[in-house]
């Protein structure tokens, strides 16, 4: 299984954009004829046209059976790369060799025609995506089943709800059976249930030994489907490696988590009535010395500074949600859980959350904060804190080092039962 499926070498793609019209080329003959007449000025005119490097010297290989997630900001070149790989457009220089039958899915419902019935559209869209007619004949029932369109199959698609049309379109695409599948951001369609079904289908394809290059902004989908991540930034490969690592770096670097860099006190995107505001956060060791990160297995004080409009008469409760880079909550810690009511707090002060043995594996985590006074929300800040954790001696002998070992550490022991 070590054969190459895709080999990309020094791939570049340049678009020339006329800033006056925004078009990628002059659209009327007149402009070009005028250009001929004004030949002496032509040099000047051509310098006005902007060159946009959609892809700059991209090189990487994909082995057969590999599932690669392509990530990056809008305009980073992901879609252009897929277009080059699927031969829709030619590279300006360099080359991309493909070894195997390619199926590409850059859009859901390409070629769908609303005047035609569901059945007719299955054949039309299937053929456009590169399926043979006998292949569609064979998979027809599966496609109809998957789409859930059922008895409306003989109805013109213009009478469908937009959800139905999209489901049918995706159902056709999902039954494409190429050796190499290129997919661009198609999971963002349909309702939650259908998206789950699509993800399941994609997972099936990925596990079926097929080569997949998958573009998405849905990081959870990328990490669950792909093993390898390639991060494009302004037309270049910024990172290429295990998907979790690449996605995490991307999320941090691409500014998605920029909030944590700004001062907690100056955050304005927060909820609650404002009777109390968190202003600062510090990690301290058992002696009260500040740390840049928590250490797994070590005792730690997570110290929150707050400010209120005056002395608080009432019961305050504090919530501390530790989340992963994808925003999934891993643990929630709350004074409600431990029953330690914080009664009548001063107008400003510090509250320490003590964790005797920090139970998370090495990595970068994010914390959502909340405070309630007498059960009414006073402050809510999402991704308030970036919490780094470094490896420590949680376990006496060896520490789990691999992402697939999970995020949590808990005390445990083993014995042989007599």
């Amino acid at each position: 299984m070590n054969n190459l499926a895709i080999s990309i070498k020094n791939l570049c793609k340049v678009y020339r954009i006329d800033p006056a019209t925004g078009n990628t080329a002059s659209q009327t003959l007149q402009e070009d004829l005028m250009g001929l007449v004004k030949r002496p000025l032509r040099r000047l005119a051509s310098s006005v046209k902007q060159e946009v490097w959609a892809l700059k010297d991209i090189s990487f290989d994909v082995r057969a059976g590999e599932v690669v997630g392509l990530i990056g900001r809008n305009g980073a070149g992901k879609s252009t790369l897929l277009k080059v790989l699927s031969r829709i457009t030619e590279p300006t220089s360099g080359y991309a060799d493909i070894f195997g039958r390619v199926g590409s899915l850059l859009e859901v419902g390409t070629g769908f025609h609303t005047e035609l019935t569901g059945r007719e559209n299955i054949y039309l869209s299937g053929a456009i995506l590169g399926m043979r007619k006998i292949e569609i004949d064979r998979k027809f029932d599966l496609i109809v089943d998957f789409s859930g369109v059922g008895k409306y199959i003989e109805t013109p698609v213009k009478r469908y709800s937009s959800g139905m049309a999209v489901r049918l379109a995706f159902a056709v695409a999902a039954h494409l059976d190429p050796e190499i599948l290129l997919v661009d951001e198609v999971l963002a369609v349909g309702d939650a249930a259908f998206q789950k079904k699509c993800l399941g289908k994609m997972g099936e394809v990925a596990e079926g030994g097929r080569t997949v290059v998958f573009v998405s902004h849905n990081m959870a989908a990328i990490t669950s489907l792909c093993k390898r991540g390639v991060w494009l930034e302004e037309g270049c490969v910024q990172a290429d490696g295990p998907v979790r690592q690449v996605v995490q770096d991307y999320l941090v670097m691409a500014g998605e988590l920029d909030e944590t860099k700004t001062n907690l006190a100056s955050r304005t995107d927060r909820g609650g009535d404002g009777r109390l505001r968190f202003t600062e956060f510090q990690v301290r060791n058992r002696d009260g010395a500040p740390l840049s990160s928590a250490v797994s297995g070590e005792p730690v004080d997570l110290v929150l500074s707050y400010q209120a409009q005056g002395d608080i008469f009432g019961t305050t409760s504090i919530h501390f949600w530790i989340c992963d880079a994808f925003g999934k909550c891993l643990i929630s810690l709350s004074s409600l859980f431990t029953g330690e009511d914080l009664v009548n707090l001063p107008a400003r002060g510090q509250i320490a959350l003590h964790v005797p043995r920090f139970p998370l594996r090495e990595g970068r985590y994010f914390v959502d904060l909340g405070a309630d006074i007498d059960g009414v929300k006073a402050d809510r800040v999402l991704k308030a804190i970036q919490l780094d954790v470094t490896t420590g001696a949680y376990y006496p002998v060896q520490q789990p080092a691999h992402p697939k070992d999970g995020d949590f550490l808990i005390e445990h022991s083993w014995r042989l039962l007599e």
Binding site: Y15, T24, A25, S26, Q27, T28, L29, Q30, D32, K83, S86, R87, I88, T89, E90, V102, S104, L106, E107, T110, G111, H113, E115, L116, E120, Y123, L124, A127, I128, L129, G130, M131, R132, K133
Partner: protein
Amino acid sequence: MSLRELWSYRDLFWILAWRDVKLRYKQTALGVTWVILQPILTSGIFAVIFGFLAELPSDGSPYMLFAFAGTLPWTLFAQSLQRAGTSLVSGRELVSKVYFPRLILPIASSFSVLVDFLVGLASISVLFLIYQVPLTWNILAIPGLVLANLLIAVGVSFWVSAFSVHYRDFIYALPFLVQAWMYASPVAYASSIVPEEWSVLYSLNPMVGIIEGFRWSLLGHGLFSWLSIGISLAVGLLVFFSGALVFRRIERGFADVI
């Protein structure tokens, strides 16, 4: 040119041609009747204006029949050219999102017109009954003439559609080209009225041989000459292959510009 690749996409070709036929008559009350109605109405107008008012000769046939035998192949040609010429621009959604040999688009659009033509051809038998004109063995030439007709139409559409990706001007100019070409072809009149000194230039129009051939084939008599058919074929092949080459050359940039 990779003919093998073109061949491997033959299913797409049939489905696209079938789609065009299907879409043309969806939500029309008369449906396929239009296919018969259009050439009949056109030939009726020709018969009145050129036959009755202008009293042009029709080489011995009823003018209506004479005009119909010219309108039928001309409609095939003009419609294929129109549809195939605009096929890339109207299919730009496909061109920018999916890969397939782009040549398929104009060829499929042009073949979809063939269905209309066959219906029209069948309807001419009614006219034959009305005018009591017998069919002759000449009719066997029709398949060959149809192919030559399509060859020219597709060839010209290669040029037009390829350039229309960069310059929409070609789309706007196309109807005028078709109209001028019709008057330069013996559709509404007999080529015998063309003055002698123009006849060499006139016969360079590949549609002259084709349309005269159709008349000869349907009406059983008329100006059939191997020379003009030969010229039609030669010009047709030239336009077709040069068009295909130009198309293939420009094709690389289609998705970026369209």
